[in-house]
Symmetry: C2
Subunit: 600 residues, 2 copies
Amino acid sequence: MRTKVSDTTPELLAKRVAAAQGKSPADVVVRNVQILDVFGGGFTTGDIAIVGDVIVGVPEAYSGTQEIDGTHLFAVPGFIDSHVHIESSLMTPVRFQESVLPRGTTTAFWDPHEVANVLGHLGVRWALDSCRDLLMDVFVLVPSCVPATDMETSGAHLTADDLLEYRNEKGVLGLAEFMNVPGVLFGCPEVAQKLTTYAGTIRDGHSPMLRGRDLNAYLCAGIHGCHESTTAEEAREKMRKGMHVLIREGSCAKDAHALLSLVTPYSSAVMALCSDDRNPLDVAAEGHIDHIIDIGLQKGLNAEDLFRAASFGAARSYGLFDRGVIAPGYLADVCLVKQKRPGTWAEGFEVVHVFKKGRKVELAELSHFAQELGTRTRPKTTKRNINTVALASEKFRLSVPSSVTGKTVMCRTIGLIPKKIITENLVFEMSVGGDGVVAADVSRDILKIAVVERHHKTGNVGLGLVKGFQLRQGAIALSIGHDSHNITVVGCDDASIIAAVDAVKRCDGGIVVVDAGGKVLAQLPLPIAGLMTDASPVEVAEHLRALKAAARQIGCTLDEPFLQLSFLALPVIPSLKITDKGLVDVNAFAFTSVFVEGNG
Amino acid sequence: MRTKVSDTTPELLAKRVAAAQGKSPADVVVRNVQILDVFGGGFTTGDIAIVGDVIVGVPEAYSGTQEIDGTHLFAVPGFIDSHVHIESSLMTPVRFQESVLPRGTTTAFWDPHEVANVLGHLGVRWALDSCRDLLMDVFVLVPSCVPATDMETSGAHLTADDLLEYRNEKGVLGLAEFMNVPGVLFGCPEVAQKLTTYAGTIRDGHSPMLRGRDLNAYLCAGIHGCHESTTAEEAREKMRKGMHVLIREGSCAKDAHALLSLVTPYSSAVMALCSDDRNPLDVAAEGHIDHIIDIGLQKGLNAEDLFRAASFGAARSYGLFDRGVIAPGYLADVCLVKQKRPGTWAEGFEVVHVFKKGRKVELAELSHFAQELGTRTRPKTTKRNINTVALASEKFRLSVPSSVTGKTVMCRTIGLIPKKIITENLVFEMSVGGDGVVAADVSRDILKIAVVERHHKTGNVGLGLVKGFQLRQGAIALSIGHDSHNITVVGCDDASIIAAVDAVKRCDGGIVVVDAGGKVLAQLPLPIAGLMTDASPVEVAEHLRALKAAARQIGCTLDEPFLQLSFLALPVIPSLKITDKGLVDVNAFAFTSVFVEGNG
């Protein structure tokens, strides 16, 4: 638990007390601003006086070395991204900061699950180290499920004993999203050991569509919150069962519209907002946590409740008592915002200024700082990101079992749902070629998907079919494939698929789009664990725009083809998923065959 | 920070999970009860399943080894007394439990400030030890101000270094009510050191009538909450400044009526209720925390908000994430209550059953347990509670200064305010006797008050005048005198006063009422530090009834003469107070003279 001004020294205390009493000027004063009261509700007009990183007075009149006129502005506590994988920004933490801090996100809770799945201890250590020099606060929740399941090949395996190392480390809030729900329900010993190891800290949850007695059982393990609710009914049940519901609006998984109406005067103290996985293109175009608030405002919800959940709700739900309140003794994490149309919140708001620990946030400074750091932000490893054996083209052939003798076969197909990371488990009748092979059927948008193991040169290739990308030619591949981050590729034919995988291999990790001839139309190299780059948000956004244009060029109609593709490898999210070891029926938590017929 | 099921072992987890899934029976099931949802608001009808000390399921149907029909009942989380001096119950913790646990108070935050002022380290250690074997949870906040000021003689002095010993001890939540407000505002080095020592924990506040920039300055020290607001306006300012407001309803200080309207859907997550100082007579007659809720209900306030503040609000405000919610994984601290008139809360409620850590509370069991313990609950010390020198009667004479030559003199007089612990600073014209002495004027209800030092045989006697007791004869004395707990006595003449002090001395601490002849009309010995007894709540209540009857017999019209008298010695509560060293002008934080004239 972090409490107010825990850095107090007698000298600092004396300085703050004198300024609070008006006996000496504050460092910064925001004059005549409407200040949100997250304890009692409503806005109070007055001044905010700041000394160093702490607020020393509201709302009495103060004078300061630097004064800012807050007339017509509102002051709300800095926003908190209550669950994020910074890796999904495709950027390093310092570049993530550059992207989200100017949008008002002054604190984030990071589960470095992706980099941990690739680099293990080295990844977790790098994550902790990367947060130390930031202006924004990034707290780490230690990845609980590396790998997420044993149905895939990850770069590393972290046992309960491995996790223990981080338990009491500064900046660690607890154990991150415990996605091995079956492991809890079936009493898996290692699961019990992990939860026991982190008893007394926050053990965060991950329980999409878990309901009823099974949800109760999961909560008995001490599970704290969940960011995986997709319907209001599901989220409402979780709240009723004492679970902190985090409303997520990522680039791919978008739950804000379904869930924001649950944010009320009563609940706003125990709810939070999060991005989970959101790319810098969307942050630049729409926003980050500010965007979720904006959606709520435009739905006609109450500004006090939304701003409270976005700051105080998240802070208090995770044991941070030092922020989320604009009042003396709290960290000076303050957003000055204005209503898009004065007099009403209904048309949304804009962030005008952000103060983080009393410092006015300037984008240019953040960019400069990141640029100065350059490649020094990379993990210290000489290992290649892509470690694959040479793969024969046969590896990508989807051959029917010998028991199948007809000209067609019923095939399980992953049914993509745009803007969701859950999928449908579909079955289609597919033609069997003369060589006993099932190929993609572009006319019906049934494409081939493959996951190529990239960590240990196992040569594993998982094969399957997917509907929803609508490619007309070529392939898309990337070294991101939640959560083990093998190479995930979707394509219209084997040659394109192999060309795309080779292109990812050539840049030692990244995102590529190739055409029917195997020509690379666009690519973004990701030199850090095959997940991230140290390029700037602007550069990454440019690359993403080019990649999206290339994906459209080969026929893809999805808003977010890359994230959606990467989540098809995640076997803890229902219903049908694929790993390097094969197709997974998530509801049964077991492997299944592409072929419904001839399957034993 | 305490999180859910922090005692998890793989075996316990398996047992809970199986019961939660309905695969094995729960230990206890409350069937068909209306369960308060402190996250989202409202009541949900269903079952509560309990295994051991933890709730494993709501609201699905369950079966259990023991089943209780909850039809027409409501289940709310166990109440929390968010600030209490158990010493003011006049009983030991195990007897306090017997008094309040059956009323639904399942957790208390104890500031053992009184026993610490008498016994120092021995007192704090005794307090911590006394809580270990209770069924109810009593957390300790370490007394921050022993003594409260240097204007009095206490039994002990605890420095910042002394306090350090308890900082990380199990069951310690932080530093208790930091009442040395001037010490913060004027930058007293020892004050700064104490606050620094407890940085990173909760540092609770005590700031009656503190407002504006001075309140800001006080909060800059990291101060957390305050139970000393007496008007809604004052409390509202504190909330606006991010301070947790605890609404107090003690035996003497009664703020519920003034403050309860501040409990709203929005604020109920950050507010709490407390008793501070409440005797077992009032607990038996009216209730404890349940009584405060009842006052709110009868004022027409919302039941969901009141019950939430009384449990969840207190728990979360003090970093307890393991209770205050009726949901799986939380402690099974549950009150089953019924509306006094079915269908409405407006006529109040009654506690029907209380579960503490899954155990159904039975008064007889609690009494039996306390009886078995007997005198083993006493601190291990052979020191007498009353250490005074023989006092000449001259010590009690209020002689005017030689500069006073007239027949009358203007005298500062403590103006008692019934049911408040703040006082008025009054001035009356008093006759000067032939011997140059001012005596009590019973006809105008201006009585003599004295504080006799009892710890170190200093022979100190502080003398003054007080208006408000309306004694017609005799005296009242007790070895309780906040916070240094010297002997406090009020009387109509010196002989009665001396007789009352002698009676307190004879029983080595206690409360006595004597008549004009010095005869003891009633007394309650307090063998533990001169503050507490190990008698049962019923016995203590009987004694108090007899003492009150005796006080009425000698003319006293106050509801609560003993607590009111004891608080007249507390020089951190405005306006005019008295210690063994003399009269104190609290607003000036300095000694003053009884005599306005002839005073320099």
